[in-house]
């Protein structure tokens, strides 16, 4: 087929790739943390909220889960621009990702909450704990621990999905690749390299999140129970 692969240009552009990768990590890290908090809040609204609150939470979750992330990003980014509001693309990307991932996280945590045996709540009630105390000391910690593997997968998926933020001109890894491609015209090579970087990032991310689990779930660490 006569095509000659040439990866030599990578050495000229590695700082762009490094910055891109860093931006991807920051983007995903911030979105995972904020998305977790928002998702947990939504899960609580779904499970414990009044009828109105839980219906609203359900509508939100369904609306987000049944529309593409790209459309959400365009809606927010171009929408803000049309309203004359200037938000840096990086922050618009975080807001979109948090809105998006919170809906998925909510479903995961809700499933965790519903899998806790009823006896746990009865015991907590009988110990005179308030609803809030039950939530924070009994329900959420157990729910999150139970569904943590799903949260890891979810987070990796989100990191991969953040690549689409290049479309709203965020200079993350894919954006950087796009820039390099338009200078070097070595599209195939650059995307192979970037694919490998994403693979590494997904592996690193799993490691990092398993490390967090070791810190957060004392019992797992002490007893060596796998997630």
């Amino acid at each position: 087929m006569g095509y000659e692969f040439d990866f030599s240009f990578i050495w000229d552009f590695w700082p762009d790739l490094a910055w891109g990768a860093l931006e991807t990590v920051l983007l995903s890290g911030a979105s995972i943390i904020l998305g977790f908090v928002a998702g947990a809040g939504l899960a609580v609204a779904k499970v414990h909220g009044s009828r109105t609150v839980s219906t609203l939470a359900n509508i939100y979750v369904e609306a987000i889960r049944n529309t593409p992330l790209v459309v959400q990003a365009f809606w927010l980014f171009f929408g803000l621009a049309a309203m004359g509001l200037r938000m840096p693309a990086f922050y618009a990307a975080i807001v979109t990702l948090v809105i998006n991932v919170s809906a998925y996280t909510a479903e995961i945590i809700r499933a965790g909450m519903e899998s806790i045996p009823k006896g746990q709540f009865e015991a907590a009630d009988c110990l005179a704990l308030s609803r809030r105390q039950v939530l924070f000391h009994v329900e959420l910690p157990q729910a999150v621990e139970r569904v943590y593997p799903a949260l890891i997968s979810q987070s990796v998926l989100m990191m991969l999905a953040s690549s689409i933020m290049s479309q709203i001109s965020v200079e993350e890894l894919t954006g950087a690749a796009y820039g390099i491609q338009s200078i070097t015209f070595r599209g195939f090579e650059i995307y192979i390299v970037v694919a490998v970087i994403y693979l590494l990032l997904s592996v690193l991310m799993r490691f990092a999140m398993e490390g967090i689990a070791q810190l957060a779930f004392t019992r797992r660490r002490r007893l060596g129970t796998p997630l």
Binding site: Y3, N66, V70, W75, G79, L160, S166, G187, Y191, Y198
Partner: protein
């Protein structure tokens, strides 16, 4: 600033939606053709086969779909062909769907109770006969709700074809927004169209799953 969104624009969006559906079907059909053998290979007795198929799945699942789109797009031209973006997008969707469908179906095959496999063995059936007559019918039933659930992912993720300029719904909406500068109208309509396809599928998948759990 900008002009208003006209009927012609809405018609364009509906056309985009048809391309979205078309690309989704390509992804699902292609994903099935590639993914089903992988699912079966993943439970074969050969460790090497299981490993290499596992590697394929891990690779595809560890690379963002937009990057897969680019790889197919540039890969095809590197190979010396000049084809429309549709082909590249279809290939990327096939690769993507095959990895996830294979995992879903492997799970379904493995959740057929052990006793069924053993019973089938006792009936002196060949491995192929066992698969076709005993295991598959049961696995198919288990696999339907998650497969339909994954269809939702396929439909939504065809929007990533926007990166290679394939004129599905999202790309069309973006073009219209560029000329009309009415992002809330344009992208809300696009979102509603996606929702109209995805929500019934999600809902159906959940209902089937609940029904299956009760049975």
């Amino acid at each position: 600033m900008g002009s208003s969104v006209t009927i012609a624009h809405y018609i364009l969006m509906l056309q985009g939606m048809l391309w979205t559906i078309g690309l989704s079907l390509m992804g699902f059909v292609g994903g099935t053709i590639v993914g089903l053998p992988i699912a079966i290979g993943r439970i074969s007795q050969s460790k090497a086969l299981r490993r290499s198929l596992g590697l394929y799945i891990a690779l595809i699942q560890g690379i963002p779909l937009p990057i897969l789109m680019f790889l197919c797009y540039f890969g095809i031209s590197v190979a010396g062909f000049n084809v429309p973006a549709l082909v590249a997008a279809g290939m990327a969707m096939t690769a993507y769907a095959s990895a996830y469908l294979a995992e879903i179906w492997r799970g379904s095959l493995q959740s057929v109770p052990k006793a069924q496999w053993e019973a089938a063995e006792c009936l002196a059936l060949t491995r192929l006969q066992r698969m076709v007559h005993v295991i598959l019918p049961q696995a198919v039933k288990i696999s339907i709700p998650p497969t339909i659930g994954f269809l939702v992912q396929i439909v939504k993720n065809t929007s990533y074809a926007v990166v290679i300029g394939f004129a599905e719904l999202t790309y069309t909406a973006r073009l219209i927004n560029n000329s009309t500068f009415k992002p809330f109208v344009v992208f809300t309509v696009a979102a509603v169209l996606y929702f109209a396809i995805c929500f019934p599928l999600s809902h159906f998948s959940r209902r089937l799953e609940r029904k299956l759990k009760r049975a």
